[in-house]
Amino acid sequence: MSKISINNIAQAIADHTKGKSGADLEMAYKDTLSFLNKKKLLSRSDEILEAIGKIIDKEDGVVRMKVQSAKKIESHEQKELEEDIKNKYGAKEIVSEYIEEKELLGGMKITIGEEVLDTTYRNKLDQLATHLINN
C-alpha cells in the first residue's frame, strides 16, 4: 500500500469542503477534524493547512509573491512588478509581501512558490566568493 501524502490529504479536504456553506460546511469541518484525529495527523495540521492554501490559490488563480530588497520599493515600482508577474504567470490576482533587508546590500530577491529570482548584491558576492575559492 502506498503512503498517503500530505498533498493527497489536503486535496481531499479541499474537495470535501468545496462549494459547501452553513450547516454542511460545519459538518465537513467536523468530518475533517475527526479524520485527522483518527489518523493522528493533528500535529501536522500546519503543513496540511499550507497545502490546502496552495490548492485554493491555484484554483482561484492567486499567485503569492515575496520580494526582499535592501531599499524600500516605491509604490509605482511595486505596481509595475506586480503587473509583470501577473502576465508571466497568467494570474488573476497577485498577493505580494515586501520585506526590507539591509544585508542584501542592493537589488532584490523575488520568491514565487518554488521559483526564486535573486538579483541581490549579496548573492552576487557569494557566487563570486565560491568562484574564486574553486578556481
Binding site: E115, L117, D118, N135
Partner: protein, 500 residues
C-alpha cells in the same frame, strides 16, 4: 608569487567572472540526519539530479516522493540546518575527468585530496551512464598480465573482462590487486584503484607501495574513507568508472579495482534504510543487484570503430567465514566473468597467493591468453585437481602404485611452483619457462623444498642461455622447435649444475 601578482590574478578572475541571472527552483530542508536531508519543494527535480545546499555542499536527489525529496549529502552535513535553502542545479551528478588526474589521490567527487593542489579540468563525465551497447563492443582477446603465476596460467584475465577477487578477511585480496597494478608498468594500461570504506592508514600504505613501485605514474586512486559519510562510499565506484571511461573513450586500456564492493553494498544499505526504502534479504534494498550490475556492466572492450579502448574490472568481495553463498557474493559472482577464490586455510598453510584453483574460474580470459602460456598451462589445472583428490586419498596411508606416487610428487612441485611472494610480479616469458619445466616433468627430480631456489636460478640462467626461446615468446607469443630445443638444453644444463 608576489603580492602584485596575486592582486593581478584576482583582478583578472573578477573581471572574467560573469553571473547569469535566472529564476532558480529552490526547496527547503525539512529535516536532516545521518547524511540524509528531506527537502520540501523541488517538485520538478529529476532522479540523481545534483542539488546545492546553502553552505555550498552538494547532494543528490535519490528519493522522489509526493511532497518531499530525499537527498544524500555529499559532504559535511553538520552545518546544514532545518529551513536552509536547497537549489536544484538541473544537472545529473558529474565528476571532473582529466589526464592530469593520473598519479593523484581523489575523493568520491573527483577532487584532489593529496595536498598537491587542485586539478584544473574543463571536462566532466556523468557519474551514472548507460553501459556501452553490443554494437560498440568486441570480444576479449588481449591479456591483462597480473604477473602472478597462479592467475596468469590458470585463471587468465583479458582486457575488458570483469574478474571477481573473493575471500575472507586477511587472505590477500588487496595484495593481488596491488600486484596486478604494479605489473602494468610498460603494458600500456591506466589503473584506477577505488578504495571504499577503508581506513585511511591502509590507503596511505597502498599509495606509498604504489609510488615506490613506480606505479603512480599510471594510477589514479579514488577514495571514500571509513570516516566519510556513507553517501561518499556509495558514489566512489561510479566516480572511478566515470574517470576510467574518460580514458577508454580516448582509446586507452584501463584496469579498475573496486576494493571492496561488500562495503559498497553496506553503504548503500545504510542510505536506503535511512531513506526508508523497504528492506529485503539481509536488510539490503531490493535493487542491490542493480547497484552492482550497472556498475560492472560498464567494463567492456570497445571495437576499433569506437576507439578500441577497454575497461577491465577487478571487483573485490569480502566473505564471512568462507561463505560464498551469502547474498552479495552470489550476486557479484553471477555478474562477473569469473572469480579468483582465496582461502584462509591455504593462506595459513603457506600457499600464497592463497588461490583455490578448484573454485576459481575465468570464463572468457582463456581466449586472451597468449599461445605459449596456453600450451604450458593446459594440463596444469587438471594435474592440480587430480593432485588434491589423490592427496586426500593418500592420507589413509595405504600402499600407492608408482603412477600415483609420481602424480603426487608432480602435484607437490606444482603447488610449490605457484607460490609467489607479494610485490614480486613475474613477466609472462619467465612464467612460461618455469611452467614448461614443471609440466614436462623436468623438475621431478628436484627436491620440493628447493623448487623456489631452482626457479629463481633457472630464470636468471635462461636469460643468457635460452635467448631464442625468450625472443620467440616476446615477439610471436609462441615458441618454435628450435626455441624449445634450446630451452630444454638450458634447463638440463642448469639442473645438472644445481643438483651436483
Amino acid at each position: 608569487m608576489t603580492k602584485n601578482n596575486i592582486v593581478e590574478n584576482l583582478r583578472k578572475e573578477i573581471e572574467n567572472f560573469k553571473i547569469e541571472m535566472k529564476a532558480e527552483k529552490v526547496g527547503h530542508v525539512v529535516e536532516v540526519f545521518d547524511g540524509i536531508a528531506k527537502v520540501s519543494g523541488l517538485s520538478d527535480i529529476k532522479a540523481s539530479e545534483m542539488v546545492t545546499f546553502a553552505n555550498g555542499v552538494e547532494g543528490v536527489a535519490l528519493n522522489l516522493e509526493d511532497d518531499s525529496v530525499g537527498v544524500i549529502i555529499l559532504g559535511d552535513f553538520s552545518k546544514i540546518r532545518e529551513g536552509d535553502e536547497v537549489k536544484a542545479t538541473g544537472k545529473i551528478l558529474e565528476v571532473p575527468v582529466s589526464d592530469l588526474q593520473i598519479g593523484r589521490v581523489l575523493n568520491a567527487l573527483g577532487q584532489a585530496i593529496d595536498g598537491k593542489g587542485a586539478i584544473k579540468t574543463d571536462k566532466t563525465n556523468p557519474v551514472e551512464r548507460v553501459a556501452s551497447g553490443v554494437m560498440s563492443r568486441q570480444s576479449v582477446d588481449q591479456p591483462v598480465q597480473t604477473g602472478i603465476k597462479a592467475i596468469d596460467a590458470l585463471i587468465p584475465i583479458g582486457r575488458g573482462q570483469r574478474e571477481l577477487i573473493i575471500g575472507d578477511r586477511q587472505t590477500g585480496k588487496t595484495a593481488i590487486a596491488i600486484d596486478a597494478i604494479l605489473n602494468q608498468k610498460g603494458q600500456n594500461m591506466i589503473c584506477v584503484y577505488v578504495s571504499i570504506g577503508q581506513k585511511d592508514s591502509k590507503l596511505r600504505k597502498i599509495e606509498t607501495r604504489l609510488a615506490e613501485g613506480g606505479a603512480m605514474d599510471y594510477t589514479i586512486i579514488v577514495s571514500a574513507g571509513s570516516s566519510e559519510p556513507a553517501a561518499m562510499s556509495y558514489i566512489a565506484p561510479y566516480t572511478g568508472v566515470a574517470i576510467a571511461e574518460h580514458f577508454m573513450d580516448a582509446g586507452k586500456d584501463v584496469l579498475i579495482i573496486y576494493d571492496d564492493l561488500s562495503k559498497h553494498a553496506v553503504a548503500y544499505r545504510e542510505i536506503s534504510l535511512l531513506l526508508r526504502r523497504p528492506p529485503g534479504r539481509e536488510a539490503y534494498p531490493g535493487d542491490v543487484f542493480y547497484l552492482h550490475s550497472r556498475l560492472l556492466e560498464r567494463a567492456c572492450r570497445k571495437n576499433k570503430d569506437y576507439g578500441g579502448g577497454s575497461i577491465t574490472a577487478l571487483p573485490i568481495i569480502e566473505t564471512q567465514a568462507g561463505d560464498i553463498s551469502a547474498y552479495i557474493p552470489t550476486n557479484v559472482i553471477s555478474i562477473t566473468d569469473g572469480q579468483i577464490f582465496l582461502e584462509t586455510d591455504l593462506f595459513y598453510k603457506g600457499v600464497r597467493p592463497a588461490v583455490n584453483v578448484g573454485f576459481s574460474v575465468s570464463r572468457v580470459g582463456g581466449s586472451a591468453q597468449i599461445k605459449g602460456m596456453k600450451k604450458v598451462a593446459g594440463t596444469l589445472k587438471l594435474d592440480l585437481a587430480q593432485f588434491r583428490e589423490l592427496e586426500a586419498f593418500s592420507q589413509f596411508g595405504s600402499d600407492l602404485d608408482d603412477a600415483t606416487k609420481r602424480q603426487l610428487e608432480r602435484g607437490k612441485r606444482a603447488v610449490e611452483m605457484l607460490k609467489q611472494p607479494q610485490y614480486s610480479p613475474i613477466v609472462v616469458e619467465h612464467q612460461i619457462i618455469t611452467l614448461y619445466a614443471l609440466v614436462k616433468g623436468l623438475l621431478d627430480d628436484v627436491p620440493v623444498e628447493k623448487i623456489k631456489e631452482f626457479e629463481a636460478g633457472l630464470i636468471a640462467y635462461a636469460e643468457n642461455n635460452a635467448k631464442i626461446f625468450l625472443k620467440e615468446i616476446r615477439e610471436a607469443k609462441m615458441w618454435t622447435d628450435a626455441g624449445e630445443a634450446e630451452l630444454k638444453q638450458a634447463i638440463g644444463d642448469y639442473k645438472a649444475g644445481f643438483l651436483s
